[in-house]
Symmetry: C2
């Protein structure tokens, strides 16, 4: 089965919004063995959307549109689909009632412009949207399927999973894939360790440079998921053997999730003290559900006075400055002591755009303190933009914790 | 001038990476009045990339490819461009020397596979890449232009701005646009206040629901930027008049940047104490260059004991729990007192997936403390995913600060 995704919205072509929806949908479809052959972004232009829909229906079995279901005049997805299949949209009384109820429950009267969100065409089933005012459509037309989904990601994701998929009866998964996530090697080094595997057409082994390390993806197809997995097996074993000590996780694993899990296993707690990352490390840790089981809290000590307040000795700050190995070490100690945690992680460095204390952008120190363990990593992350330096620092800190908590710390 | 963007990488079609590059390029092109008509994602498949390049050259003047310039075998952009223009790539001695130097400067020997990054074809100029190992190409072929850029965003952005643009001599800007950013109204309410302006084809007025509020974009074209701006003027005045008190910023303004600026004007300082946002508020504030001028620091007080440690009275926590109006008020006070700041912002609430203390997901309290001012906002942000609840809370906190610091606080 071939699919095409049409992301609709002038803001996409003007670069005012990043299209995360297409990637999310593509990943779900890939898992089902549905191949996304085209993924196209379009403006809110009725003629152009009609043209793209016709083209998509000519070359794919399943066409998914995202966006353009809002109440305003530039939301034209319903009009475009109706025109392509030659049907007239009408207000559906049941949809109208549920829409008016949605507003009433929020103590508001429905603006009349929202009425178009109650439109339906004869070939369409309505896809309910309890999270918003835009229901979707599932249209079957001349052997093809069109699914229209709303633009807000959480509405789109729920509608695809809860409403569209159960009605579509897609084939079950036939693509097996596994992503290995590594830390400590560059992309060329990973590729060299993998040798000829990266030139093998099936199973396919590909490398990707990410901020949380080099990822290696192994993918294979089969008539069933089991068959695909069996085909992938030799490559899986080879990647594991080649990169073993550098692999920190698989698939949806995150360094923060892994840190939580390793701390849970030891019944240990964690605290953070951040300078250049300004809370980003804490927020990465808290993004994991259940973070509160291990994470006691953290401090953002942007100024020298705030660092001292958390217990970094003033003489250290005077002697070494705020961006220094010694400071990172004392910040990690302070994190442990101040929050009463077993493990402490600290970051200090120069995020840019300007130098600090004569140190260039990208000079970063990551400190770790734990039971019988104290370590500082010096990193050179420049010249890169501020947010990249900060994000990379967060991952370096979490990778340092991973290595320290792993049963057999690698190289 | 019409442009097409081809983002190349199987990971895009498998949904393993979000294509931020196309949005960034589209925004830069729009500002120059270059219309992006097509924006397509493709896999690492030589035949399909060749086909897409041919199609793009048939309908657009400028074709920009992003990605596929790495050293590994699945990086096939150079091969595809060479095939489409019928030229043979060869190793360029100067490029090879500079590549070997890049590795030598980092104390490494160049892996032989990187040699393909030194390829050049006769019609291509090389675009230097001091940030990585992948130079780009600028190809002129039969009146069309192809620009190949690398995939890592910071390499791509620098190469476009510093290397490609100066060589391209594109027309100067002919699109004027301004985005108004509002807080405190829903999208339908904004649209109703704007009345018939949203149905006006030129200047175009469009609304977008964002996590930091409803955005309104006004856009107009002209033969010069001045002419375009003059055409937009009536719409700009109308939007300003209709939404005035709700507008917190324009274009690239951010709530955090605005907060820094308002605090700077008053010579005031800020501290934060976060529960459900876990550092996200601090990191949003620190993302602004120069944040350290006003931001003293912050605490992540995920546990009740950490909240108490920062000075939230235990009896408040016992009486009201961690998710409560009273707790948010005392957390904001604690932020001020503990860091010695003039203003304090605090967040507490239920990010999900589970309830806390019988309160449903999305129950959030945002506290503010400042000279002669104390305020708590209660929010109902559910049912939405964890990261949306947290991000929305961060913006609600910053919007509360904005209202309190604005000369004439609206509504």
């Amino acid at each position: 089965m071939k699919a095409e995704i049409l992301a609709i919205g002038t803001e996409l072509l003007l670069g005012e919004i990043v299209d995360t929806n297409s990637a999310w949908l593509a990943a779900r479809l890939a898992d089902l063995g549905v191949e996304v052959w085209w993924s196209v972004r379009l403006g809110d232009d009725l003629d152009r959307v009609v043209e793209a829909l016709r083209q998509a229906l000519g070359r794919c079995d399943l066409v998914i549109t995202v966006g353009g279901l809002g109440p305003t005049d530039d939301d034209i997805t319903r009009e475009a689909v109706a025109r392509v299949i030659g049907e007239e949209p009408r207000v559906d009384p049941a949809l109208e009632a549920s829409l008016r109820r949605y507003f009433a429950e929020r103590g508001r009267t429905m603006p009349e412009m929202n009425l178009k969100q109650a439109w339906l065409v004869p070939s369409a089933q309505s896809l309910p949207n309890p999270l918003g005012t835009a229901p979707g459509w599932l249209v079957r037309h001349q052997g093809r399927i069109i699914v229209t989904l709303p633009g807000p990601p959480w509405e789109m994701e729920r509608m695809w999973l809860e409403e569209a998929l159960p009605r579509l009866q897609l084939p079950s998964a036939t693509l097996f894939r596994r992503t290995f996530k590594t830390w400590g090697l560059g992309e060329s080094a990973v590729a060299e360790l993998l040798g000829s595997w990266t030139r093998c057409p099936e199973p396919r082994v590909a490398t990707y440079a990410r901020l949380d390390g080099i990822h290696v993806r192994v993918a294979a197809r089969g008539s069933t998921l089991e068959e695909a997995q069996a085909r992938a097996a030799p490559a899986l074993a080879a990647v594991e053997a080649a990169l073993g000590p550098f692999i920190w996780g698989y698939d949806d694993d995150t360094l923060a999730g892994l840190a939580r899990q390793l701390l849970m296993e030891r019944g240990a707690t964690l605290a953070t003290l951040e300078s250049l990352t300004g809370g980003m490390l804490g927020q990465e840790i808290c993004a994991v559900p259940g973070a509160s089981d291990v994470y006691l809290g953290g401090g953002v000590a942007y100024s020298a006075s705030a660092k001292a307040r958390f217990g970094v000795p003033s003489e250290v700050l005077e002697r070494s400055g705020t961006v220094a190995e010694e400071t990172a070490r004392h910040m990690a100690r302070a994190a442990c002591r101040w929050f009463g945690a077993d493990w402490g992680l600290a970051t200090t460095g120069v995020a840019g755009p300007a130098e600090i204390e004569g140190k260039p952008v990208g000079t970063v120190f990551v400190g770790l303190q734990g039971p019988g363990r104290e370590e500082v990593k010096a990193l050179s992350l420049g010249p890169r933009p501020r947010h990249v330096v900060r994000q990379r620092t967060v991952y370096a800190a979490l990778a340092l914790l991973w290595r320290s908590l792993s049963p057999e710390p690698p190289g």
